[in-house]
Protein backbone atom coordinates (compact mmCIF):
# COMPACT_ATOMS: atom_id res chain seq x y z
CA UNK A 1 0.00 0.00 0.00
CA UNK A 2 1.41 3.37 -0.91
CA UNK A 3 0.29 6.77 0.30
CA UNK A 4 -1.57 9.46 -1.61
CA UNK A 5 -0.29 12.91 -0.63
CA UNK A 6 -2.26 16.15 -1.04
CA UNK A 7 0.06 19.03 -1.92
CA UNK A 8 -1.12 22.67 -1.90
CA UNK A 9 -0.50 24.77 -5.00
CA UNK A 10 0.28 28.20 -3.56
CA UNK A 11 2.77 29.73 -1.18
CA UNK A 12 3.67 26.31 0.29
CA UNK A 13 4.03 24.55 -3.09
CA UNK A 14 7.82 24.85 -3.53
CA UNK A 15 8.57 24.08 0.11
CA UNK A 16 6.29 21.03 -0.03
CA UNK A 17 7.99 19.65 -3.14
CA UNK A 18 11.44 20.29 -1.66
CA UNK A 19 10.36 18.37 1.43
CA UNK A 20 9.04 15.45 -0.66
CA UNK A 21 12.30 15.44 -2.69
CA UNK A 22 14.30 15.19 0.52
CA UNK A 23 12.19 12.17 1.49
CA UNK A 24 13.14 10.42 -1.73
CA UNK A 25 9.96 11.04 -3.76
CA UNK A 26 10.36 12.08 -7.38
CA UNK A 27 8.56 15.39 -7.86
CA UNK A 28 10.12 16.34 -11.21
CA UNK A 29 6.91 15.61 -13.11
CA UNK A 30 4.91 17.77 -10.67
CA UNK A 31 7.32 20.68 -11.09
CA UNK A 32 7.14 20.42 -14.88
CA UNK A 33 3.35 20.39 -15.08
CA UNK A 34 1.45 23.55 -14.18
CA UNK A 35 -1.93 22.32 -15.32
CA UNK A 36 -1.96 18.64 -14.39
CA UNK A 37 -3.41 17.95 -10.93
CA UNK A 38 -3.16 14.22 -10.34
CA UNK A 39 0.23 12.44 -10.44
CA UNK A 40 -0.61 8.82 -9.77
CA UNK A 41 2.87 7.42 -10.13
CA UNK A 42 4.32 9.74 -7.49
CA UNK A 43 1.20 9.42 -5.34
CA UNK A 44 0.69 13.19 -5.37
CA UNK A 45 -2.46 15.24 -5.90
CA UNK A 46 -2.12 19.01 -6.15
CA UNK A 47 -4.90 21.42 -5.23
CA UNK A 48 -5.87 24.81 -3.88
CA UNK A 49 -4.48 25.05 -0.31
CA UNK A 50 -7.87 25.40 1.38
CA UNK A 51 -9.03 22.15 -0.28
CA UNK A 52 -6.30 20.01 1.32
CA UNK A 53 -8.23 19.30 4.57
CA UNK A 54 -11.33 18.40 2.54
CA UNK A 55 -9.55 15.73 0.50
CA UNK A 56 -7.71 14.35 3.54
CA UNK A 57 -10.82 14.27 5.73
CA UNK A 58 -12.67 12.29 3.08
CA UNK A 59 -9.77 9.90 2.61
CA UNK A 60 -9.24 10.77 -1.08
CA UNK A 61 -5.72 11.62 0.06
CA UNK A 62 -4.15 9.73 3.00
CA UNK A 63 -1.98 12.62 4.13
CA UNK A 64 -1.56 16.25 3.17
CA UNK A 65 0.58 19.33 3.61
CA UNK A 66 -1.30 22.45 4.69
CA UNK A 67 -0.75 25.75 6.47
CA UNK A 68 -1.86 26.06 10.08
CA UNK A 69 -3.92 29.08 8.96
CA UNK A 70 -6.12 26.77 6.85
CA UNK A 71 -6.44 24.28 9.72
CA UNK A 72 -7.44 27.03 12.16
CA UNK A 73 -10.03 28.34 9.73
CA UNK A 74 -11.38 24.81 9.13
CA UNK A 75 -11.15 23.59 12.71
CA UNK A 76 -14.26 21.44 12.18
CA UNK A 77 -12.38 19.10 9.85
CA UNK A 78 -11.78 15.65 11.25
CA UNK A 79 -8.09 15.23 10.36
CA UNK A 80 -5.07 14.35 12.48
CA UNK A 81 -2.31 16.93 12.77
CA UNK A 82 0.91 14.93 12.88
CA UNK A 83 3.86 17.29 12.48
CA UNK A 84 4.96 20.90 12.32
CA UNK A 85 6.99 20.87 9.10
CA UNK A 86 8.79 24.05 10.06
CA UNK A 87 8.57 25.88 6.73
CA UNK A 88 6.15 28.48 5.37
CA UNK A 89 6.43 30.59 8.49
CA UNK A 90 3.95 33.47 8.63
CA UNK A 91 1.64 35.22 11.08
CA UNK A 92 -2.09 35.90 11.35
CA UNK A 93 -2.47 39.56 12.33
CA UNK A 94 -4.97 42.36 12.83
CA UNK A 95 -4.01 45.44 10.77
CA UNK A 96 -5.52 48.87 10.13
CA UNK A 97 -4.64 52.04 8.19
CA UNK A 98 -1.70 53.97 9.64
CA UNK A 99 -2.37 57.01 11.76
CA UNK A 100 -4.57 56.76 14.86
CA UNK A 101 -6.26 53.52 15.86
CA UNK A 102 -9.39 53.15 13.70
CA UNK A 103 -10.34 49.89 15.43
CA UNK A 104 -10.34 51.33 18.96
CA UNK A 105 -12.09 54.44 17.74
CA UNK A 106 -14.86 52.47 15.98
CA UNK A 107 -15.36 50.35 19.09
CA UNK A 108 -15.56 53.42 21.32
CA UNK A 109 -17.91 55.48 19.20
CA UNK A 110 -19.96 52.87 17.33
CA UNK A 111 -19.75 49.93 19.73
CA UNK A 112 -18.47 47.60 17.04
CA UNK A 113 -15.67 47.30 14.52
CA UNK A 114 -15.91 46.15 10.90
CA UNK A 115 -13.21 43.71 9.83
CA UNK A 116 -12.51 42.33 6.35
CA UNK A 117 -10.84 38.93 6.02
CA UNK A 118 -10.47 35.72 4.06
CA UNK A 119 -10.51 33.94 7.43
CA UNK A 120 -13.97 34.69 8.90
CA UNK A 121 -13.85 32.01 11.62
CA UNK A 122 -10.41 32.98 12.89
CA UNK A 123 -11.34 36.69 12.86
CA UNK A 124 -14.70 36.18 14.60
CA UNK A 125 -13.10 33.93 17.22
CA UNK A 126 -10.29 36.40 17.91
CA UNK A 127 -12.63 39.34 18.46
CA UNK A 128 -15.02 37.22 20.54
CA UNK A 129 -12.11 35.96 22.66
CA UNK A 130 -10.95 39.51 23.31
CA UNK A 131 -14.45 40.71 24.21
CA UNK A 132 -14.98 43.06 21.28
CA UNK A 133 -18.00 43.20 19.00
CA UNK A 134 -17.01 42.79 15.37
CA UNK A 135 -18.83 42.63 12.06
CA UNK A 136 -16.86 40.27 9.87
CA UNK A 137 -16.91 40.97 6.14
CA UNK A 138 -15.67 38.04 4.09
CA UNK A 139 -13.78 38.99 0.93
CA UNK A 140 -12.18 36.67 -1.61
CA UNK A 141 -9.62 38.99 -3.23
CA UNK A 142 -7.05 41.47 -1.91
CA UNK A 143 -8.04 42.19 1.67
CA UNK A 144 -5.77 45.27 1.84
CA UNK A 145 -8.17 47.13 -0.40
CA UNK A 146 -11.09 46.93 2.01
CA UNK A 147 -9.99 49.49 4.67
CA UNK A 148 -8.54 51.84 2.04
CA UNK A 149 -11.96 52.23 0.42
CA UNK A 150 -13.82 52.62 3.70
CA UNK A 151 -15.52 49.22 3.48
CA UNK A 152 -14.12 48.27 6.91
CA UNK A 153 -12.06 49.65 9.81
CA UNK A 154 -9.41 46.95 9.75
CA UNK A 155 -8.44 43.52 8.46
CA UNK A 156 -7.37 40.11 9.66
CA UNK A 157 -4.88 38.53 7.30
CA UNK A 158 -1.83 36.36 6.95
CA UNK A 159 1.51 38.11 6.56
CA UNK A 160 4.98 36.73 5.99
CA UNK A 161 7.17 39.85 5.81
CA UNK A 162 4.66 42.68 6.30
CA UNK A 163 5.65 44.21 2.94
CA UNK A 164 2.19 44.07 1.37
CA UNK A 165 0.66 45.64 4.48
CA UNK A 166 3.20 48.48 4.48
CA UNK A 167 2.86 49.10 0.73
CA UNK A 168 -0.86 49.63 1.25
CA UNK A 169 -0.42 51.99 4.20
CA UNK A 170 -1.53 49.40 6.77
CA UNK A 171 -0.02 48.85 10.18
CA UNK A 172 0.00 45.64 12.22
CA UNK A 173 -1.83 46.09 15.52
CA UNK A 174 -2.11 42.59 17.00
CA UNK A 175 -0.73 39.14 16.33
CA UNK A 176 -3.35 36.37 16.52
CA UNK A 177 -1.10 33.37 15.92
CA UNK A 178 1.96 32.15 14.07
CA UNK A 179 1.46 29.61 11.28
CA UNK A 180 3.72 27.05 9.63
CA UNK A 181 3.14 24.14 7.26
CA UNK A 182 1.69 21.04 8.94
CA UNK A 183 1.48 17.38 7.98
CA UNK A 184 -2.08 16.08 8.38
CA UNK A 185 -3.53 12.58 8.02
CA UNK A 186 -6.88 10.95 7.46
CA UNK A 187 -7.96 9.25 10.73
CA UNK A 188 -8.64 5.87 9.12
CA UNK A 189 -5.45 5.91 7.00
CA UNK A 190 -3.52 6.78 10.17
CA UNK A 191 -4.53 3.37 11.52
CA UNK A 192 -4.77 1.21 8.41
CA UNK A 193 -1.60 2.56 6.77
CA UNK A 194 0.28 3.06 10.03
CA UNK A 195 3.60 1.64 8.80
CA UNK A 196 3.76 3.83 5.68
CA UNK A 197 2.76 6.96 7.61
CA UNK A 198 5.20 6.24 10.44
CA UNK A 199 8.02 5.68 7.94
CA UNK A 200 7.32 9.04 6.33
CA UNK A 201 6.99 10.86 9.67
CA UNK A 202 10.25 9.24 10.80
CA UNK A 203 12.04 10.49 7.68
CA UNK A 204 10.73 14.02 8.19
CA UNK A 205 11.78 14.00 11.85
CA UNK A 206 15.31 12.80 11.05
CA UNK A 207 15.92 15.37 8.31
Amino acid sequence: MSLTIAVPRGALFEGSLDLLDSLGLDTAEVRDNDRKLLFEEAGIVTMRPSDVPTYVEHGSADIGIVGKDVLLEQSQRNVYELLDLGFGHCRMVVAAPEGGDPIASALRRLGRVRIATKYPRIAAQHFADTGRQAEIVEVKGSVELAPLTGLVDGIVDLTATGTTLAENGLRELEEISTCTARLIANPVAHKLKADEIDALVGKVRSR
Binding site: E57, H58, G59, S60, Q76, R77, N78, Y80, E81, L82, L83, D84, R182, N186, P187, V188, A189, H190, K191, L192, A194, D195, D198, V201
Partner: protein, 320 residues
Protein backbone atom coordinates in the same frame (compact mmCIF):
# COMPACT_ATOMS: atom_id res chain seq x y z
CA UNK B 1 -42.25 22.39 -6.30
CA UNK B 2 -39.59 21.47 -3.73
CA UNK B 3 -39.90 21.56 0.05
CA UNK B 4 -36.92 21.52 2.33
CA UNK B 5 -35.94 19.11 5.10
CA UNK B 6 -33.58 19.93 8.00
CA UNK B 7 -29.85 19.73 7.19
CA UNK B 8 -28.42 16.40 8.29
CA UNK B 9 -31.64 14.49 7.59
CA UNK B 10 -32.54 12.59 4.44
CA UNK B 11 -35.25 10.80 2.55
CA UNK B 12 -34.58 7.21 1.55
CA UNK B 13 -36.15 5.99 -1.69
CA UNK B 14 -36.89 2.35 -2.63
CA UNK B 15 -33.60 1.34 -4.34
CA UNK B 16 -31.45 2.54 -1.47
CA UNK B 17 -33.99 1.33 1.11
CA UNK B 18 -33.78 -2.23 -0.27
CA UNK B 19 -30.00 -2.22 0.13
CA UNK B 20 -30.12 -0.71 3.63
CA UNK B 21 -32.74 -3.30 4.65
CA UNK B 22 -30.57 -6.10 3.27
CA UNK B 23 -27.60 -4.92 5.34
CA UNK B 24 -29.70 -4.57 8.51
CA UNK B 25 -31.21 -8.04 7.99
CA UNK B 26 -27.81 -9.67 7.58
CA UNK B 27 -26.37 -7.94 10.66
CA UNK B 28 -29.50 -8.80 12.65
CA UNK B 29 -29.37 -12.47 11.63
CA UNK B 30 -25.81 -12.81 12.96
CA UNK B 31 -26.71 -11.01 16.21
CA UNK B 32 -29.90 -13.05 16.73
CA UNK B 33 -28.10 -16.35 16.04
CA UNK B 34 -25.62 -15.48 18.78
CA UNK B 35 -28.45 -14.99 21.26
CA UNK B 36 -28.84 -11.21 21.01
CA UNK B 37 -32.60 -10.56 20.94
CA UNK B 38 -33.73 -7.34 19.27
CA UNK B 39 -35.29 -4.63 21.40
CA UNK B 40 -36.95 -1.36 20.54
CA UNK B 41 -37.40 1.59 22.87
CA UNK B 42 -39.12 4.99 22.55
CA UNK B 43 -37.35 7.65 20.48
CA UNK B 44 -38.37 10.15 23.18
CA UNK B 45 -37.14 9.59 26.73
CA UNK B 46 -37.46 11.69 29.86
CA UNK B 47 -34.39 13.91 29.87
CA UNK B 48 -33.76 13.05 33.55
CA UNK B 49 -33.43 9.39 32.58
CA UNK B 50 -30.83 10.20 29.91
CA UNK B 51 -29.03 12.44 32.41
CA UNK B 52 -28.75 9.51 34.77
CA UNK B 53 -26.74 7.73 32.10
CA UNK B 54 -24.59 10.64 31.08
CA UNK B 55 -24.03 13.86 32.96
CA UNK B 56 -25.95 16.77 31.37
CA UNK B 57 -27.31 14.27 28.79
CA UNK B 58 -24.65 15.85 26.59
CA UNK B 59 -25.38 13.64 23.60
CA UNK B 60 -29.12 14.35 23.45
CA UNK B 61 -29.57 17.77 21.89
CA UNK B 62 -33.23 17.85 20.87
CA UNK B 63 -35.57 18.57 23.75
CA UNK B 64 -39.21 19.36 24.06
CA UNK B 65 -41.88 19.61 26.78
CA UNK B 66 -44.83 17.32 27.18
CA UNK B 67 -48.30 18.32 28.34
CA UNK B 68 -47.20 17.92 32.02
CA UNK B 69 -44.23 20.24 31.57
CA UNK B 70 -41.73 17.38 31.77
CA UNK B 71 -38.66 17.66 29.56
CA UNK B 72 -38.43 15.00 26.86
CA UNK B 73 -35.33 14.40 24.72
CA UNK B 74 -34.61 12.44 21.56
CA UNK B 75 -32.15 9.65 22.36
CA UNK B 76 -28.61 10.08 21.01
CA UNK B 77 -27.79 6.38 21.22
CA UNK B 78 -29.38 3.09 22.30
CA UNK B 79 -26.95 2.23 25.08
CA UNK B 80 -28.56 4.42 27.74
CA UNK B 81 -32.16 3.36 26.90
CA UNK B 82 -31.08 -0.30 27.05
CA UNK B 83 -29.45 0.30 30.45
CA UNK B 84 -32.82 1.68 31.58
CA UNK B 85 -34.62 -1.38 30.15
CA UNK B 86 -32.27 -3.77 31.95
CA UNK B 87 -32.74 -2.05 35.31
CA UNK B 88 -36.52 -1.75 34.91
CA UNK B 89 -37.62 -4.84 33.02
CA UNK B 90 -34.84 -7.31 33.81
CA UNK B 91 -34.29 -6.36 37.45
CA UNK B 92 -33.98 -9.97 38.58
CA UNK B 93 -32.85 -11.68 35.37
CA UNK B 94 -29.75 -13.80 35.58
CA UNK B 95 -26.84 -12.18 33.65
CA UNK B 96 -25.36 -12.16 31.11
CA UNK B 97 -28.06 -10.44 29.08
CA UNK B 98 -27.71 -9.97 25.33
CA UNK B 99 -29.60 -7.44 23.21
CA UNK B 100 -29.35 -6.04 19.72
CA UNK B 101 -31.12 -3.06 18.16
CA UNK B 102 -31.74 -1.29 14.87
CA UNK B 103 -33.06 2.16 15.61
CA UNK B 104 -32.64 5.81 14.76
CA UNK B 105 -30.75 8.16 17.05
CA UNK B 106 -30.26 11.92 16.88
CA UNK B 107 -27.24 14.11 17.48
CA UNK B 108 -26.46 17.77 17.03
CA UNK B 109 -24.75 18.79 13.80
CA UNK B 110 -21.74 20.54 15.23
CA UNK B 111 -19.20 20.59 12.48
CA UNK B 112 -21.55 21.55 9.68
CA UNK B 113 -19.86 19.35 7.09
CA UNK B 114 -22.62 16.98 6.08
CA UNK B 115 -22.84 15.19 9.40
CA UNK B 116 -26.08 13.36 9.98
CA UNK B 117 -28.54 14.74 12.51
CA UNK B 118 -30.57 11.55 12.35
CA UNK B 119 -28.93 8.21 11.74
CA UNK B 120 -29.83 4.53 11.78
CA UNK B 121 -27.75 2.64 14.28
CA UNK B 122 -27.47 -1.14 14.45
CA UNK B 123 -25.64 -2.65 17.35
CA UNK B 124 -25.43 -4.95 20.30
CA UNK B 125 -25.03 -4.75 24.06
CA UNK B 126 -23.61 -7.51 26.24
CA UNK B 127 -24.56 -6.94 29.87
CA UNK B 128 -23.10 -8.85 32.80
CA UNK B 129 -19.96 -10.11 31.10
CA UNK B 130 -16.69 -8.68 32.44
CA UNK B 131 -13.48 -7.78 30.60
CA UNK B 132 -11.94 -9.20 28.56
CA UNK B 133 -14.41 -12.00 27.70
CA UNK B 134 -17.18 -9.50 26.95
CA UNK B 135 -15.03 -7.46 24.58
CA UNK B 136 -13.87 -10.60 22.74
CA UNK B 137 -17.44 -11.80 22.18
CA UNK B 138 -18.68 -8.38 21.04
CA UNK B 139 -15.74 -7.74 18.71
CA UNK B 140 -15.79 -11.21 17.13
CA UNK B 141 -19.52 -10.86 16.51
CA UNK B 142 -19.15 -7.37 15.03
CA UNK B 143 -16.47 -8.59 12.63
CA UNK B 144 -18.55 -11.62 11.62
CA UNK B 145 -21.71 -9.56 11.12
CA UNK B 146 -19.94 -7.05 8.85
CA UNK B 147 -18.52 -9.95 6.84
CA UNK B 148 -22.06 -11.27 6.45
CA UNK B 149 -23.18 -7.78 5.37
CA UNK B 150 -20.73 -7.94 2.48
CA UNK B 151 -17.58 -6.25 3.79
CA UNK B 152 -14.25 -8.02 3.30
CA UNK B 153 -11.58 -5.60 4.46
CA UNK B 154 -13.03 -4.13 7.65
CA UNK B 155 -10.88 -3.83 10.77
CA UNK B 156 -11.54 -2.88 14.37
CA UNK B 157 -9.38 -0.46 16.33
CA UNK B 158 -9.15 -1.27 20.05
CA UNK B 159 -7.77 1.01 22.72
CA UNK B 160 -8.15 1.68 26.41
CA UNK B 161 -10.24 4.79 27.06
CA UNK B 162 -8.80 5.18 30.56
CA UNK B 163 -5.16 4.75 29.54
CA UNK B 164 -4.06 8.32 28.84
CA UNK B 165 -5.91 9.75 31.82
CA UNK B 166 -4.24 7.13 34.00
CA UNK B 167 -0.86 7.91 32.52
CA UNK B 168 -1.29 11.62 33.24
CA UNK B 169 -2.14 10.78 36.83
CA UNK B 170 0.77 8.35 37.19
CA UNK B 171 3.43 10.78 35.99
CA UNK B 172 1.97 13.45 38.26
CA UNK B 173 0.51 15.93 35.78
CA UNK B 174 -1.62 18.56 37.50
CA UNK B 175 -5.39 17.81 37.24
CA UNK B 176 -5.99 21.23 35.67
CA UNK B 177 -3.79 20.31 32.72
CA UNK B 178 -5.62 17.07 31.94
CA UNK B 179 -8.49 18.57 29.94
CA UNK B 180 -6.45 20.51 27.35
CA UNK B 181 -4.14 17.51 26.89
CA UNK B 182 -7.05 15.09 26.45
CA UNK B 183 -8.70 17.47 23.99
CA UNK B 184 -5.54 17.56 21.87
CA UNK B 185 -5.39 13.78 22.04
CA UNK B 186 -9.01 13.29 21.01
CA UNK B 187 -8.48 15.59 17.99
CA UNK B 188 -5.05 13.97 17.42
CA UNK B 189 -3.52 17.40 17.28
CA UNK B 190 -0.08 15.91 17.88
CA UNK B 191 1.67 19.23 17.27
CA UNK B 192 -0.47 20.87 19.96
CA UNK B 193 0.03 17.88 22.28
CA UNK B 194 3.79 18.07 21.84
CA UNK B 195 3.74 21.78 22.68
CA UNK B 196 1.55 21.36 25.79
CA UNK B 197 3.69 18.48 27.05
CA UNK B 198 6.91 20.44 26.54
CA UNK B 199 5.49 23.16 28.81
CA UNK B 200 4.58 20.77 31.66
CA UNK B 201 6.88 21.29 34.63
CA UNK B 202 8.80 18.57 36.44
CA UNK B 203 8.70 15.71 33.94
CA UNK B 204 11.61 13.50 32.92
CA UNK B 205 12.57 12.96 29.29
CA UNK B 206 11.13 9.45 29.26
CA UNK B 207 7.78 10.60 30.66
CA UNK B 208 7.50 13.41 28.13
CA UNK B 209 8.30 11.08 25.29
CA UNK B 210 5.68 8.58 26.47
CA UNK B 211 3.00 11.30 26.66
CA UNK B 212 3.81 12.52 23.14
CA UNK B 213 4.41 9.15 21.48
CA UNK B 214 1.50 7.19 22.93
CA UNK B 215 -0.96 8.29 20.19
CA UNK B 216 1.49 6.97 17.58
CA UNK B 217 1.33 3.46 19.03
CA UNK B 218 -1.09 1.56 16.82
CA UNK B 219 -0.86 -1.71 14.93
CA UNK B 220 -0.66 -5.40 15.80
CA UNK B 221 -0.01 -6.90 19.23
CA UNK B 222 3.64 -5.78 18.95
CA UNK B 223 2.68 -2.15 19.71
CA UNK B 224 1.95 -3.23 23.29
CA UNK B 225 5.65 -4.06 23.66
CA UNK B 226 6.59 -0.59 22.49
CA UNK B 227 4.69 1.03 25.37
CA UNK B 228 7.22 0.49 28.14
CA UNK B 229 5.95 0.86 31.65
CA UNK B 230 2.23 0.88 30.86
CA UNK B 231 -0.22 -1.56 32.38
CA UNK B 232 -1.60 -3.26 29.27
CA UNK B 233 -2.35 -6.72 30.64
CA UNK B 234 -6.05 -6.35 29.79
CA UNK B 235 -5.36 -5.73 26.12
CA UNK B 236 -2.96 -8.70 26.01
CA UNK B 237 -5.59 -11.02 27.47
CA UNK B 238 -8.10 -9.64 24.99
CA UNK B 239 -5.69 -10.37 22.16
CA UNK B 240 -5.41 -14.00 23.27
CA UNK B 241 -9.18 -14.41 23.35
CA UNK B 242 -9.53 -12.79 19.92
CA UNK B 243 -6.86 -15.14 18.57
CA UNK B 244 -8.85 -18.12 19.91
CA UNK B 245 -11.87 -16.80 18.03
CA UNK B 246 -9.78 -16.43 14.88
CA UNK B 247 -10.24 -12.67 14.47
CA UNK B 248 -7.01 -11.29 16.00
CA UNK B 249 -5.70 -10.30 12.56
CA UNK B 250 -8.71 -8.00 12.09
CA UNK B 251 -7.90 -5.99 15.19
CA UNK B 252 -5.61 -2.97 15.42
CA UNK B 253 -4.42 -1.96 18.86
CA UNK B 254 -4.51 1.83 19.09
CA UNK B 255 -3.22 3.20 22.38
CA UNK B 256 -4.24 6.77 21.57
CA UNK B 257 -7.86 5.87 20.86
CA UNK B 258 -10.41 7.84 22.86
CA UNK B 259 -14.16 8.03 22.32
CA UNK B 260 -16.17 11.15 22.93
CA UNK B 261 -18.94 9.68 25.08
CA UNK B 262 -18.43 10.06 28.78
CA UNK B 263 -19.59 6.67 30.05
CA UNK B 264 -16.76 4.45 28.77
CA UNK B 265 -14.62 2.94 31.53
CA UNK B 266 -12.24 0.55 29.78
CA UNK B 267 -11.72 -0.76 26.27
CA UNK B 268 -12.97 1.43 23.43
CA UNK B 269 -13.56 0.35 19.82
CA UNK B 270 -13.79 1.94 16.40
CA UNK B 271 -14.72 0.12 13.18
CA UNK B 272 -12.93 0.96 9.91
CA UNK B 273 -12.89 -0.04 6.28
CA UNK B 274 -9.96 0.97 4.05
CA UNK B 275 -12.41 1.84 1.25
CA UNK B 276 -13.80 4.85 3.16
CA UNK B 277 -12.11 7.59 5.20
CA UNK B 278 -14.46 7.59 8.20
CA UNK B 279 -15.22 5.18 11.05
CA UNK B 280 -18.29 2.96 10.54
CA UNK B 281 -19.13 2.87 14.22
CA UNK B 282 -17.65 2.21 17.61
CA UNK B 283 -18.27 1.29 21.18
CA UNK B 284 -16.58 0.13 24.31
CA UNK B 285 -16.87 -1.00 27.90
CA UNK B 286 -19.12 0.91 30.30
CA UNK B 287 -18.97 -0.81 33.68
CA UNK B 288 -20.51 2.06 35.70
CA UNK B 289 -23.53 2.84 33.55
CA UNK B 290 -25.87 0.04 34.69
CA UNK B 291 -25.06 0.87 38.33
CA UNK B 292 -26.35 4.41 37.79
CA UNK B 293 -29.70 2.83 36.91
CA UNK B 294 -29.61 0.62 40.02
CA UNK B 295 -28.45 -2.67 38.54
CA UNK B 296 -24.64 -2.67 38.79
CA UNK B 297 -23.32 -4.97 36.08
CA UNK B 298 -20.27 -4.78 33.84
CA UNK B 299 -21.19 -4.26 30.19
CA UNK B 300 -19.88 -3.47 26.74
CA UNK B 301 -21.30 -2.94 23.28
CA UNK B 302 -20.86 -1.72 19.72
CA UNK B 303 -23.02 0.51 17.52
CA UNK B 304 -22.70 0.65 13.73
CA UNK B 305 -23.96 3.43 11.47
CA UNK B 306 -25.92 1.35 8.95
CA UNK B 307 -25.71 3.98 6.21
CA UNK B 308 -21.94 4.17 6.59
CA UNK B 309 -21.69 0.37 6.44
CA UNK B 310 -23.64 0.64 3.18
CA UNK B 311 -21.24 3.32 1.86
CA UNK B 312 -18.26 1.11 2.75
CA UNK B 313 -19.84 -1.91 1.08
CA UNK B 314 -20.50 0.10 -2.10
CA UNK B 315 -16.96 1.52 -2.03
CA UNK B 316 -15.43 -1.95 -1.60
CA UNK B 317 -17.53 -3.15 -4.54
CA UNK B 318 -16.29 -0.23 -6.67
CA UNK B 319 -12.68 -1.07 -5.85
CA UNK B 320 -13.32 -4.67 -6.94
Amino acid sequence: MTHRIPPGTRDVLPDEMRELRAISSRLRAVFEDAGYGEVHTPALEYEEVLRRGEEHAAGARYRTFDEQGDVLALRSDMTIPIARVVATRYADAEPPLRFCYFAHAWRAVERGVGEPREFLQGGLELIGSPAPEGEAEVLALTIAALEEAGLRRHRVGVGDGALYRGLLRDVGVDEEQHMPLLECLSRRDLVGLDMLVSRLPGLGEQERSLLVRLPELRGGIEVLDRADGLELGGLRELHELLAERGVADRVIFDLGLVRELGYYTGAVFEVYDPAVGFALGGGGRYDDLLGRFGRPLPACGVGLDVQRVHLAQAAEEALG
